[in-house]
């Protein structure tokens, strides 16, 4: 990806005066923001919420929990006890930063690498294990009942976010829809259409691009010729900006600003969070086929969790004992959830029919009967 703080070449204003027939009629700039450098040192004054050590510790816990879930999910997959799983290793700050900036009654529409956001909002570890273990009940969230389930076909949930935000607007509710997707999604028409409509209708909708630089094996440079993905907002008449996606403070601050503006009727916003996919695309992928460890290893030094921990330690708000206590707590929660998942029997076979329609048509009643007959044979 291009360097930070890229500002497109500014036109010569005097040009219009010289030749009104050839004036520059539009120009744009994309701002980039970061609060913590990779070592956890503040590079500018922190936003208000970061003055509170407890708030930062909560963000830290959210990222540690996401990573612990991630590691457990990969381990379960490797031992044949979970389906194919897309790790979010190294991208925890994007997910947690988004969720921490939202209100509970906002609606989140995730892609498939935002477990950290789902967990923060109240989706349970057991539900996530169930979903990735191949059980639809994992998307029947006990909390956040209006949040959308994980979206596997890339970008296709972006228009849903438009509909959800339109519902808020039509009902005069001060709620915001937040839609996350990856860099690859920005190549699809769904995202272009969603940005465009959100702009026209000034919807309370925040798009977050979880730019981990890779769409499976294809790097961003092969995805677009644009300098930034954030500037895709500009053509839709909405604001776009970049943040350091490995700086959870930056993500939370930018999303909170966008969400607050959207809630106040200022319309949609696009945030491109720059991060890096440290893992394979999924457990079914072998990234060494298309990128070398030499390419990946420098990005470990940008790890969002280490960064925030160093910052907290530097502020005297985190000690070894805190770390040990947190890891023990999180690990116990994840292990317990995994056990619950593994001990959960599959649904009854008849349930494959039962939610196709509210009321089963006769043909499906017949098919259900044959299926269950066959299952018992």
């Amino acid at each position: 990806m291009p360097s930070a703080e890229k500002i497109s070449e500014l036109p010569d204003i005097a040009e219009a005066a010289r030749d009104p027939a050839a004036a520059t009629v539009a120009r744009f700039e994309i701002r980039y923001s970061r609060f913590l450098d990779p070592k956890g040192k503040a590079v500018r004054p922190l936003p208000d919420f970061a003055a509170d050590g407890a708030e930062l510790v909560a963000l830290y816990r959210g990222m540690v929990l996401a990573r612990a879930f991630d590691a457990k999910a990969v381990a379960l997959q490797r031992t044949g006890r979970l389906g194919t799983f897309p790790s979010a290793l190294g991208q925890e700050a994007v997910a947690v930063g988004i969720a921490a900036a939202m209100r509970k009654d906002d609606v989140f529409l995730p892609s498939f690498r935002e477990h950290g956001a789902q967990l923060w909002r109240g989706v349970s570890l057991v539900e996530l294990f169930l979903f990735w273990g191949g059980d639809e009940r994992g998307s029947d969230f006990a909390e956040v009942r209006e949040d959308f389930p994980i979206c596997v076909p890339v970008a296709t949930h972006a228009p849903h976010a438009v509909g959800v935000a339109l519902a808020f607007k039509l009902r005069h509710q001060q709620r915001v829809a937040v839609c996350a997707f990856g860099d690859g999604a920005t190549s699809k028409g769904d995202v272009a259409e969603a940005l465009n409509i959100a702009g026209v209708w000034r919807l309370p909708l925040v798009f977050v691009i979880n730019n981990n630089q890779w769409a499976i094996s294809v790097p961003v440079a092969q995805q677009t010729a644009a300098e930034t993905l954030a500037q895709k907002a500009i053509a839709a008449g909405i604001e776009g900006e970049q943040v350091d996606g490995n700086d959870v403070i930056a993500v939370r601050e930018a999303v909170a600003r966008a969400v607050a503006a959207a809630r106040d009727g200022a319309g949609p916003h696009l945030i491109e969070a720059l991060t890096y996919r440290l893992s394979d695309h999924t457990t079914a992928d072998d990234a060494r086929r298309y990128r070398s460890d030499v390419d990946v290893s420098p990005h470990w030094s940008e790890d969002p969790i280490t960064r925030l921990r160093n910052h907290l330690v530097g502020r005297g708000q985190w000690a070894k004992a805190d770390e040990e206590r947190l890891l023990a707590e999180v690990s116990a929660a994840v292990d317990k959830a995994a056990e619950t998942y593994l001990a959960t029997p599959p649904q009854q076979p008849g349930t494959i029919f039962d939610f196709t329609y509210e009321t089963l048509p006769n043909e499906l009643v017949d098919q259900r009967r044959s299926a269950l007959g066959a299952a018992q044979e």
Binding site: E146, F148, A167, G189, I197, T356, Y357, E358
Partner: protein
């Protein structure tokens, strides 16, 4: 009560549904001030305002996709796709999301939406305006596929579609929009979405059809009636879920069957019906099933479309072959 045509019946049902339920919203391309290119949404903007009737930017995939979001939030969007030839980008949303949101979330989120679209040929329209893709939709689990063929059925079935808790693809035969008028009482009475309609009772042969082909089919049955052949004509009206029982009962009575549809033959919905009859009604057949359908060609432009669309003559010929079968 007054005599209205099919497109007016659609309009009447939309207005009725919007009065009944504030969650019903109408959206699409040119549906607001324009009132729809066929005037199906005429007057709704004035009556219900821009919060209930709105134009979308020109993006069919997003029209259906954002309707999924609205529906998940409890609205009942009625989205218009201007012509069925433009609906293909939106099939992704219908297949990947609208039809499976209930199943995926175990009923937590649902998708009570209607996608309306004028379908079929015979109006001398330009390229891509005369498609009959109903079989594509009928293949998608979780959808309902409805094609009314009269003003009264358009009114009653559209009301049912809007009230239905699941997504409905509602294909309106363009050729019939202004072809005939009948009295339609605006009484809010819905028609069932799981039953076909016996338009004529008969004993010698069954004609199964839907959409605009109703006209040619009825004409063929008139011709045969002149030869003392008694034809039972059934309008399927709802392709999914299919009312197999009524079809099988008719074939059991007549022992002969012609399936007529405008869409291309191969993989057309007629194949599904023929298979159903073969599976469950073979012993009652006195002759092979015939299908009279569009050819397996690209829909021709208007100067040749008469050679594509199944004609009364083709239907009569098929019936005669079956009746002569020994």
């Amino acid at each position: 009560m007054s005599e209205i045509n099919l497109v007016q019946a659609v309009n009447l049902a939309l207005a009725r549904a919007m009065v009944e339920d504030d969650n019903v919203v109408v959206l699409g391309e040119d549906v607001a001030a324009e009132g729809g290119v066929f005037r199906a949404t005429d007057g709704l903007l004035t009556r219900f305002g821009p919060g209930r009737v709105f134009d979308t930017p020109l993006a069919e995939n997003a029209i259906v996709g954002l309707s999924v979001g609205l529906a998940a939030q409890g609205f009942r969007p009625v989205a218009e796709i201007q012509f069925t030839g433009f609906i293909y980008p939106a099939i992704d949303q219908l297949v990947s999301h609208a039809s499976r949101l209930r199943t995926r979330t175990r009923g937590r989120l649902t998708c009570p939406m209607v996608v309306r679209s004028p379908a079929g040929g015979g109006i001398r329209a330009i390229e891509h305006h005369s498609e009959s893709p109903e079989a594509m939709f009928a293949h998608i689990p979780g959808l309902r596929v409805v094609i009314p063929s009269s003003p009264a059925r358009a009114y009653g079935m559209l009301l049912a579609a809007i009230r239905d808790p699941d997504p409905v693809v509602f294909l309106e035969p363009t050729r019939l929009y202004r072809a005939a008028r009948e009295e339609v009482e605006d009484d809010g009475a819905a028609l069932p979405l799981d039953r076909c309609f016996v338009l004529r009772e008969g004993t010698d042969i069954t004609f199964l059809t839907w959409g605009a082909m109703i006209n040619e089919t009825l004409a063929a049955s008139d011709t045969l009636a002149g030869e003392r052949i008694s034809v039972e004509v059934i309008d399927l009206a709802t392709l999914k879920p299919l009312d197999s029982d009524s079809i099988l009962a008719s074939v059991a009575k007549t022992g002969r069957c012609v399936i007529i549809h405008e869409a291309p033959l191969t993989g057309g919905f007629g194949a599904e019906i023929a298979a159903k009859i073969a599976e469950r009604g073979l012993v009652s057949l006195l002759a092979p099933i015939e299908r009279v359908a569009g050819w397996d060609t690209v829909m021709p432009l208007p100067r040749l479309e008469q050679y594509y669309l199944p004609s009364e003559a083709r239907i009569v010929a098929a019936a005669r072959r079956i009746l002569a079968y020994q």
